[in-house]
């Protein structure tokens, strides 16, 4: 079935339509497994014919699993550049896959929580993502899908090196478990560098942009395991879980401290962000990220009702350039026009937001 982007965008999805208020600091949990067929060259080495053969075999096996019921599959070369960009922005395919040559594609399930890329760096990159902080559930889901695939595909596996992958950095479990974290207070308090160092010491990696004073990515950081060989999947998951939990605690402490030492600072930042989103007319992609990040913090602090967190999370995705272009039904726009359209979208969404209620001092 060819990919119908409009249908995909209008179908309720794990990342845009589920609210998870239990641990708002973690936006999304994601696990991916790298797998290869034992009989074929890795995608980087395989020629067009072999890549097509791999694609067809893997696609058939994936679409037969129960995870893919009512899902769709797509070959990258059937997609327009803008459609690829939309999929990248929704975390469904990687930038690398979107640039791939023939024989590359992906299978995506109905609620977009499962995506299996074919002929990316490895024959298979299986991905399951969940809204919020749900590492163990995500592992259970992806483990089941992997086992189902293994019943019909012969994976390349070495008893000593584990799952054999194109790049030796993925050997062993082939697993990269990660969480997208929203850490505005740690950024405002200038503590991110310390956190990054501590997380590195524990064998985890932090990805995100954290220059001095500048915050161009809405205080979003992806934390993931660095190594894949020598530790079992449940152990990696458990260790990552503990690291994430301690970062969550630090973020919440930083928020409390900011409110205590400078009670007007956060409400002021959040109120201004709200004002620009509600009334601005030209908003760049990175500005939108930063403003939405502050409003999300406002929801966490109780200035806005909980259900608006889901709206903000959806806008994080929909305010990205590919989504704006797709909405405008234009393959290309000058950036200032795109910034106007983005502001239009945000104004119309924020017209439905209630006015934030700021608790009086000592009440939080």
């Amino acid at each position: 079935m060819p990919l119908d982007i409009d249908k995909l965008l209008s179908t309720p999805a794990e990342l845009t339509d589920n609210s998870t208020a239990k641990c708002p600091v973690v936006l999304m949990t994601r696990i991916r497994l790298a797998r290869n067929l034992s009989t074929h060259c890795f995608p980087g080495r395989a020629d067009d014919g072999e890549r097509k053969e791999i694609f067809n075999r893997c696609r058939e096996a994936i679409m037969a699993t129960s995870s893919m019921k009512r899902g769709m599959s797509v070959a990258v070369d059937e997609l327009a550049p803008l459609q690829r960009q939309v999929l990248v922005e929704r975390h469904l395919i990687s930038r690398e896959l979107s640039a791939a040559k023939s024989g590359a594609g992906a299978a995506i399930n109905k609620d977009q929580s499962v995506s299996v890329m074919i002929n990316e760096e490895d024959h298979l990159r299986i991905q399951v993502l969940r809204n919020g902080f749900q590492l163990k559930r995500t592992w259970t889901a992806i483990n089941a899908l992997d086992t189902a695939l293994e019943s019909s595909l012969d994976y390349a596996f070495s008893p000593r090196l584990g799952y054999v992958t194109a790049c030796p950095t993925n050997l062993g479990t082939g697993m990269r478990a990660s969480a997208m974290m929203h850490l505005p207070a740690l950024v405002i308090a200038g503590q991110m560098e310390k956190v990054v160092r501590a997380v590195n010491q524990l064998g985890m990696v932090v990805r995100g942009l954290f220059g001095e004073g500048s915050d161009a990515s809405g205080s979003m950081f992806q934390i993931s395991n660095q190594t894949t060989l020598g530790e079992s999947e449940p152990d990696i998951v458990k260790r990552l879980h503990n690291v994430l939990q301690s970062i969550v605690d630090h973020e919440l402490n930083a928020r409390a401290k900011l409110l205590e030492t400078d009670p007007a600072k956060l409400p002021d930042k959040i109120g201004r962000a709200y004002g620009i989103l509600k009334h601005g007319h030209v908003i760049s992609s990175s500005e939108a990220m930063n403003l939405l990040s502050l409003v999300r913090l406002g929801v966490d602090l109780g200035y806005l009702p909980d259900e608006y967190r889901t709206v903000v999370d959806r806008l994080f995705i929909e305010a990205q350039p590919g989504h704006i272009l797709h909405r405008a039904d234009k393959p290309k726009l000058e950036s200032d026009e795109r910034d106007r359209l983005r502001a239009d979208l945000l104004r119309s969404e924020f017209a439905n937001f209630p006015t934030p209620g700021y608790p009086t001092a000592g009440n939080n």
Binding site: N36, E150, F157, L161, Y163, C167, T169, Q226, T227
Partner: protein, 169 residues
């Protein structure tokens, strides 16, 4: 004054500096603006420091016998050094001497302790056993050991059934 650091991937001056600690060992990566861009350091979703560490751990150059090539995909050590990727699963056996010294730097351990693809391995075992039996059958027939041949034939039928293959052949 100290001369500016050079990019680990090319010879331009490095402006992006990353530090990563794996297994209590500190790895430093210095990149120029364009290599940082190309490696996705500025793109949170696409950046793999592990990838860069791989390059870094390739120095000093590991020794590999000249002319060594993977029989299945034709990869030579140079191909690996250039791309940081192997060509096929069999490369891991061909280039094991190249790989071993890197694993310790790259990972927590050097042996897999995680999930095992049970069904795929089972299938492989059955197929291997089948090949074995078929060649034993041939040699039994050649040597006119008909009693043994009958035994192998029965066992082949059984293994084929276990492997989910058709028994008619």
């Amino acid at each position: 004054m100290a001369s500016p650091l050079k990019c680990d991937l090319c010879d331009n001056p490095a402006t992006v500096h990353l530090t990563q600690i794996v297994n209590h060992k500190v790895h430093k990566v210095d990149l120029c603006e364009s290599c940082a861009q190309a490696k996705g350091v500025t793109d949170p979703s696409g950046f793999s420091l592990a990838d860069l560490l791989l390059k870094a751990s390739l120095n000093p150059e590991p020794t590999a016998p000249a002319g060594l090539r993977c029989e299945h995909c034709g990869y030579a050590p140079d191909d690996f050094k250039k791309s940081g990727r192997f060509g096929c699963p069999q490369c891991y056996e061909t280039f094991t001497d190249l790989l071993e010294p890197m694993l310790d730097n790259m990972h927590k351990g050097t042996a897999h302790t995680g999930k095992i693809p049970e069904r795929a391995l089972q299938r492989k075992q059955l197929h291997d056993r089948l090949h074995e039996l078929e060649s034993e059958l041939q040699s039994a027939i050649k040597a006119e050991r008909y009693e043994d041949a009958a035994k192998f034939r029965d066992e082949i039928v059984q293994v084929r059934q276990e492997a989910g293959l058709s028994t008619a052949s």
